[in-house]
């Protein structure tokens, strides 16, 4: 096995165990891993931005292909940095105006079309088609969806007091919301468990002889480290003149 792969496995196994050590309590191993993650992510992003944005999308097209008009968005990007110089910080507003104007112009029509109009159509269409066929499970589902949409909308309608029929509808909307929250929570649990499974899968792989028992060795070392750190913590917390019983 290549040395780089072996080193990578040891680093990955070690950092995974550092992060898992938080389940015991907040400790220096966890904090080291956390800070390293933030630093490495930022460093990696900067390097990729340099190659994928500055070189590939700006420097090469301008210098090699003469696409000088790309300097305009580059200049707008640089103007954002004037926020750091109070005297000329107003220049950044030009860039923000372009960003907000372009962003809104692009997004608003698309979102209205996709997230509102097509969703309304999708909610009503199955029921409108139901008249031509027998009322089955598909139609029942469509009816449930329509009821859910309407009652949840009523729940979020605060301009009138929730009394009588409105109260019943709003209450029904709350039950629909609860079902959604439950489903979303169930999916979230599944996602988090998948992450645990992914890390355990790697730890099992790195515990093999091919990887020089990386996971097992590092587990012992991290446990020992935590014990020593815990002992040190207890000593520093013991009041002067008092002998620690352990």
């Amino acid at each position: 096995m290549a040395t780089s792969v072996l080193i990578g496995a040891w680093v990955a196994a070690g950092l995974t165990l550092f992060m898992f050590s938080f389940l015991y309590k907040d400790n220096p191993f966890f904090r080291f891993g956390e800070h390293l993650y933030v630093g490495v992510s930022m460093g990696y992003t900067i390097v990729r931005i340099h190659y994928d944005v500055m070189m590939k999308s700006l420097y090469n097209p301008v210098v090699q292909e003469g696409k000088w008009w790309l300097l305009v968005p580059a200049l707008l990007g640089l103007l954002v940095l004037t926020r750091f110089v109070p005297k000329v910080s107003w220049l950044s507003r030009i860039s923000f105006a372009v960003i907000v104007g372009f962003g809104s112009g692009v997004a608003i029509p698309r979102i209205i079309s996709s997230n509102i109009l097509q969703q309304v159509q999708g909610t009503l269409k199955p029921l409108l088609n139901a008249g031509s066929s027998r009322f089955g499970m598909a139609e029942l589902n469509a009816l449930l969806i329509l009821t859910g949409v309407l009652t949840v909308l009523v729940y979020f309608f605060f301009s009138i007091e929730h009394k009588g029929a409105i109260k019943i509808a709003a209450r029904t909307g709350v039950y629909f919301l609860m079902v959604y929250f439950g489903a979303a929570f169930g999916y979230t649990v599944m996602a988090r468990m998948s992450l645990v499974i992914g890390r355990f899968d790697d730890l099992i792989l790195f515990a093999s002889r091919d990887y020089a028992y990386a996971s097992l060795v590092l587990l012992i070392l991290v446990t020992l480290g935590l014990l020593l750190w815990e002992r040190g913590q207890r000593r520093t917390q013991t009041p002067p003149g008092q002998v620690h019983s352990s």
Binding site: D26, P61, T188, A191, M193, I197, F200, D201
Partner: protein, 301 residues
């Protein structure tokens, strides 16, 4: 009974962590092979790829970073295997800068297993800045959005992209997404305007939010979480990471359901029990470790 319920409610939660760890570890070491039922939304992605004739253009956008690797990486492996087996022209890219290296690794790895040649049978375009705007740009001129691929080769010279000038010439797009930009961006700014068919593969956290798009046909199929990856692996007859994790997934879910039921039962049996906090001596922190593992994009949803 009330005393026992009170004691269990005050149990150190680290005991639960150990229980979950064991429920994960044991099935991974000794798999049972529980049956996996394929859901219709996953089957639709599979069926669409099956229906594409050899030589069709399949675009796979790997819109995730290593934080979501356990869920989305198995999906990427399964989809790439399927596409290469079908002899499709595979074009890959990412809208997430931190996922570039990982995406390159999975694409080139699976391609080499199938003896596919870079530039001729597949392309990895890499990352281009702009998020959802990249999709609009690709819809107008793919070579403008990606003047060069990840390796610095001019995209206009790549044989695999011969005849592909924009997204209009792409037959099927699948976005494997852990947040925004992702499936919704591809639908909003790509499919509606440029007319290609779109499928999605997402983390379990964002899957419920995409079901309305599935119901209206705005996306033709959805692969959700590790479970979805396992279903896709079942369809293509591949024993991958998704299937390997399903026993552990089921075991942990069983434990969690059991704990929820027990806790509610104990709560009724021992009303007024003050539940002990995790670690009173620990310094106050904002957000849990779990919150931090998720990407910022995930939090925006």
């Amino acid at each position: 009974m009330r005393e026992l319920a009170g004691k269990l409610l005050r149990l150190d939660r680290r005991a639960i962590f150990v229980l979950i760890a064991l429920a994960t570890l044991i099935p991974l070491l000794y798999p049972i092979g529980l049956p996996i039922r394929v859901s219709p939304e996953v089957k639709r992605v599979y069926d669409h790829i099956e229906s594409l004739p050899a030589g069709s253009v399949f675009l796979l956008s790997l819109d995730f970073d290593p934080a979501s690797k356990p869920e989305l990486y198995p999906m990427a492996v399964a989809l790439l295997n399927h596409a290469f087996r079908r002899d499709l022209k595979v074009v890959t890219m990412t809208l997430w800068v931190t996922g570039t290296g990982m995406a390159e690794g999975v694409v080139s790895g699976v391609a080499s297993e199938h003896g596919k040649r870079r530039g001729l049978d597949y392309a990895f375009l890499g990352y281009s800045p702009g998020g959802a705007n990249v999709i609009i740009n690709m819809g107008q001129d793919l070579n403008a959005a990606f003047p060069a691929d990840h390796y610095g080769e001019r995209t206009a010279d790549l044989p695999v992209l011969g005849g592909v000038r924009s997204l209009r010439q792409v037959n099927y797009v699948v976005s494997l997404a852990a947040g925004t930009p992702g499936v919704e961006s591809w639908y909003l700014y790509g499919k509606e305007k440029y007319g290609f068919e779109l499928g999605g593969g997402v983390t379990a956290v964002i899957a419920p939010g995409l079901y309305p798009f599935l119901g209206t046909g705005q996306i033709n199929g959805l692969i959700g979480g590790l479970r979805g990856a396992a279903e896709y692996e079942t369809l293509i007859g591949m024993k991958g990471k998704g299937m390997a994790g399903m026993d552990a997934q089921s075991a942990t879910h069983f434990i969690i359901i059991g704990l929820i039921l027990l806790c509610n039962l104990f709560y009724v049996l021992a009303p007024g029990t003050v539940v002990r906090s995790f670690d009173p001596s620990a310094p106050l922190r904002t957000g849990s470790a779990q919150d931090r593992t998720g990407s910022p994009q995930e939090g925006q949803r």
